[in-house]
Amino acid sequence: MKIYEMTYSEIETSKDIRPDEVLDAFYNRITDVEDKVKAFISIYERRENPKTKPKIIAVKDNILVEGKKTTCASKILESFIAPYDATVVGKLKENGFYIVGKTNMDEFAMGSSTENSAFFPTHNPWSISRVPGGSSGGSAAAVAAGEVPLALGSDTGGSIRQPAAFCGVVGFKPTYGLISRYGLVAFGSSLDQIGGFARSVEDVAKLSNIIAGKEDLDSTSLNNSVEDFTRLLKRPIKGLKIAIPREFMSNALDKGIKDQIEKTIYKVEDEGAVVEEVSMKMMDYATAIYYIIAPAEASSNLSRYDGVRYGLSKSDPSLKHQYMKTRDAGFGPEVKRRIMIGTFTLSAGYYEAYFEKAQRARTKLIKEFNDVFSKYDYIVGPTTPTVAFKIGEKVENPLQMYLQDIYTIPANLAGIPAISVPIGIVDGLPVGLQIMGKRFKDAEVLNLAYAVEQMVNFDYTGGMKKLDEGLGDEDEK
């Protein structure tokens, strides 16, 4: 097995690999495949040979690394150098992690394909004519391509789980508040959550242990004692109760994915878990709720990019025109669209009809989750309605793009932990299973994810092999 194919845990436990071999393996891999994948916005120069085995990781470019560019894949921050480390980055550094670079994303994390990057799209290693998903598409693709064993992403409506599903890797969004958002460029503050990508559930659990924990710089960081995310990994799943919402298995779901999900569920039942179908009516409203709340928060969060203190600045004798010129030149169409939606829904005369109503509906949705969780330990379903689509296929149709997140959005609205684990292949492309759990029951979620991973025995190196064989180009016209 090549070093870059190994998981973080495998590298850590392997006794016959030298530190410089690890560094070489991943830097060489990046050199070999990055032209095709385009996962990174910045790649840091290889530093001198490390004394201990480097813990290689990539960081999404909306998380600040002191002294390095943090662009959010936006022209407005194209030359912005972060003045401080995000809390998670500080924790990585303290724990001896080696950050190789910053990954591509949809501008300000708005999108589901990484095509909204102001710089270039990222390609799916399984098929380079296809998108890696988004918005953390660069992180997912980098892990799938073997450029890194681990990566950080952020998930506001599915931005970790959806690209994880598309790229055949594990993507985990922990409970809202368990990981400090300090230094994560805000998109939808009540929804944003940092999480990890890896090629095994165990890796993602270990990474969560590093980056989680109550922190004083984020008031929404919760006062729960830091739990050990790995502690339940190997617990048998016999007797655990799993709900499958009917709404997640409807016609919107691709037939091939549905079959894969059902196949996996049978296996889970075989292990002694109790699986039942439930109805969650509020799930049909989740996307509508999300597309009011997230743009509203975003419209306010993005106000600071005004050309006054940092970032792109287009001067004009009139202050108003300075703002308009700067923001017109700095933001891409999707970001502008969401700023406009959010500004509208917060405006006098519309606030009650949109924002306040959405807030009430969100409360109702949380209640529905609580009801189901009073009887079940997990809610399980597909991560995405389709497999990875072609680059360019949906860019003209934002609504189609928004529907990519119908299954992932509810977990953000409820603030609950959710993970996507690859379970199989449809049309040569990976399929993800989504597992959601109760708030703070992150270890439980990882428990079921680990069990599923053992059952399906997914080949995480599939994407690398396709890339290497040049098969990634097979379906290009």
Partner: protein
Amino acid sequence: MKMRNDYKIVIGLEIHAQLLTKTKMFCGCSTEYSFDDPNTNVCPVCMGMPGALPITNEQAIRFGVKAALALNCRVNLYSRFDRKNYFYPDLPKGYQISQYKYPLAEHGYLPIETPNGEKKVRIRRLHLEEDAGKLIHQSDKIDTAEYSLVDLNRAGIPLAEIVTEPDMASPREARIFMEKLRNILRYIDVCNGNLEEGSLRCDANISLVDPETGRSTPRIEVKNINSFKFVEHALEYEANRLRRFFEGDKDVVRETRGWDSKLQMTISQRGKEEENDYRYFPEPDIPPIVLREEFIEEIKGELPELPDAKKKRFMQMYNIPEYDASILVSSKELANFFEECCAKYDKPKIVSNWIMTEVLRELKERGVEINETKITSKHLVELLKEIDKGTISANTAKSVLERAFETGEMPNEIVEKQGLKQISNADEIRKIVQKVVEENPKVVAQYRGGKTKAMAFFIGQVMKVTRGKANPKMVNQLVKEALESPEE
């Protein structure tokens, strides 16, 4: 048509008080910034850097609750921050974190003494928010400046915004309210109350109502009022201007106007149509503020004696008139000074007299509070005791006090150094009297001819010779004796 002056004036105030916390509202930067170079008292949070998040300053909540209790408000157990969205270069995040829907406290009042008796001004709400930075325009006026510079040292300083009901019926009342509010905020140590420096700011809403028809003028918001004097002046100016509305003046429209203290007039700043839609919504980065009853009770227990209570106590305890008491409590420092003096000197009314005349005159001339001078209660007490002992006259004492304000020396030292000790030696004075009488035979004759007022001339002459040091009582007596004694 003659200008009527029976229109009812309606004034409400919006006050911003900078809280005396150690650090800013949502970050660890210091609140002392006035001596710093621009943009040095800043951090990622108050600069609005990407990814930075606010952390609420607990001390600011404490101070907010304290102010609310002192203003008889109901403190809400649940309150929350909202974002007020607007673009301006002094606002780094493009929104101000404020409290909109659920303020920290509501439904208070503050009684004020008006010329027509006591009156309660209702407080609608008190909420917490963060201050903006400062713009420094390249020329005097924003519309002629080629560029403006932004200084964010002030950005994020905690503010309590206090909004009154429109309960003030004259510019005078508005001023009295502001003075009283400032006094209370200073008493409880939450704000230093300096209008000139902007640590206390006052915006006023004013309109006039015709009592006969009930017709009302548009409401005007007056900003930039940076002294107590200007509270009154700006509102008087504006009330006069508003009267023209009833004569059909079309220029009187709803707008925001700024007080120009140089021109002594208000100037239009912003019309109604330019009003912002602030798009308030709950601040997602900060959980709601949930207070416990015990917390509020604890702060209630920390409240010091407030001016009204102190005034009553002074009147009873020291047996001084209401007028004296209200002046003495008008500043916490002055009230403390008075009590310190009374603890060491048992004639409160005399202490009060000296404070209200000589001490206050000195303070006013210097523009300082008593605790900012070189004078302590020891100075005044020693001075009063010396007068009692007859070492110095009251008149001399005044100049000794002046000197003490200047140098901080103790009165005895000054008396000693300058040789101001009162001459109470009868023989010594008699000699001088004798000499003066001898030198002025004409005036003596006038006196003896019945012009008794001439006695003042002799007393004056004696004082002149002794440079005011002669014991006035003795001079009086000895002059009389000399003039009335039969000729030798």
